[in-house]
Symmetry: C2
Subunit: 289 residues, 2 copies
């Protein structure tokens, strides 16, 4: 195999182009930067199409680890690799992989399964970190409403620490979500500073979808109307809202708390009423979840 | 007053230079982008030195609101304003303000007061969002250890939604923090995936400092040794850590939970032992905090 030394090599240009959303959408490919993420992708079966490596940078141990990936190698100079991944290819490897999306129709929620639905979340950092938190609490995946959010943005892939590989990524529109929600009988919880219920007092047991709006816009009125429950995160200071990644983290960890420990405070039933019976029920159910 | 039409006007160049850390450090000035943040800064007494406005953009109502700021105006074209603040001056105004730092020696912790100490947090997004969460839970401020973290980075100011104006920003080195902590008798809690105690089971009442490490590096061994308690946030997935802004948010909201509601689960005493007496104590103390 010959070493590619030119940044304008056609293959290199195609791969570098995957930094751009449009090229990713057209090819359904994306970039995985760095050895750690590449190995994480391999270990959960992400289809890797190409490995771009800088032999001058990587040592023998890394070579043998990369052999396991079973994808064709493209050997380039460190400068060419840096032109593909300017700040995240210190360890000499970048992979090109195929995007995976699931259809909502194929998703069946069982037991305590949980998804995060999001619309107009535009910062790669936000979506990456929400996926990372989904992974941390054992959620199944994310549902992308509309096209504003691209989980395969290189910065989102990095911020997810690889959660984008193991979480299910579902694309759907609002009507599909509304239909699917009725079919599944899951609880759809939205967050808003104007939510009626303190997020710590809602009952998150059973199949759950947490719905988050964009960084500056929040949920639309139509989205709020679809939610079974709008929760608010209490704030005692001057700021009027939380960042979507922090807010989602708080709700998901409240869910995890309820699923791993007996509920001990007044909780809100599915019908939205405060009820002592749900406390008793929670106490009975104990750690069964 | 004459309208400045050139991007290379010396005043404009000086102000634009505040996008760079070095210029901010030298001048102790920083940029506040957009009307909403400028008004928030004014309302909490941030010393604003200069208003840069594009008269072609702002309407009469905004003019009269800006008069209240009581700072000299610099009138520029929209193009010149965009050269200072490329993406965040749609409403035609940017302010130059003086940075404020407090000395740790001047800070006395009382009652339930709380600070977040951080070191090597380098993403402006992270520090801005941590400050935003500090504001939301009623914390007093942040303590910056070392020089890696600049809360006056324009993106940090924006991400903080103005919390950087109202939170106390303290600069200190590690030795000063160690000395001050002993003087104040506060609880210093660090977070780490290897922490001994589940973060939901620690007792956060009384004066508290939550210590966070950088995005990729976490807390040093020396910092961990200074902590009274290292807590971990449970994770059931494949990722090995949380983003620092999400982790800090979870700990701060656990603190808020304990301060606004009776504790109901087994809690960890200050000496690190699980104790039923602390549950009883928590139940007695009820909502007094």
């Amino acid at each position: 195999m010959s070493l590619i030394t030119s940044r304008s090599n056609p293959k290199v240009k195609l791969i570098r182009g995957l930094q751009a959303r449009r090229r990713r959408d057209r090819t359904r490919l994306f970039l995985i930067e760095g050895l750690r993420l590449v190995e994480e992708a391999r270990s959960v079966g992400v289809p890797i199409e190409q490995l771009v490596v800088a032999p001058q940078v990587i040592g023998g141990a890394v070579w043998s680890r990369l052999q396991r990936v079973q994808a064709p190698f493209l050997e380039v100079t460190p400068e060419v690799l840096a032109s593909i991944s300017p700040r995240h290819a210190q360890d000499g490897v970048v992979a090109v992989a195929r995007q995976r999306f699931a259809r909502l129709d194929d998703v069946r929620l069982r037991g305590d399964e949980c998804f995060v639905a999001m619309n107009r979340v535009t910062e790669p950092w936000s979506i990456g970190n929400i996926m990372r938190t989904c992974d941390a609490v054992g959620a199944q995946g994310i549902i992308l409403l509309g096209d504003a959010t691209d989980p395969y943005y290189p910065a989102a892939v990095r911020a997810s620490l690889g959660a984008v590989f193991s979480q299910l990524v579902v694309k759907a529109n609002f009507e599909e979500l509304a239909h699917w929600k009725r079919q599944q009988g899951c609880l759809l919880v939205g967050t808003s500073p104007g939510g009626l219920v303190d997020y710590r007092e809602a009952d998150y047991r059973g199949p759950l979808v947490v719905m988050t709006g964009g960084e500056r816009v929040g949920l639309t009125l139509e989205e709020q109307a679809l939610c079974d429950l709008m929760v608010r995160i209490p704030m005692v200071g001057r700021c009027e809202s939380h960042h979507v990644a922090v807010a989602t983290g708080l709700v998901l960890y409240e869910m995890l708390r309820q699923r791993t420990a007996p509920m001990a405070r007044g909780s809100v039933c599915r019908n939205g009423k405060l009820g002592m019976e749900s406390i008793a029920e929670a106490t009975r159910s104990g750690k069964q979840d």
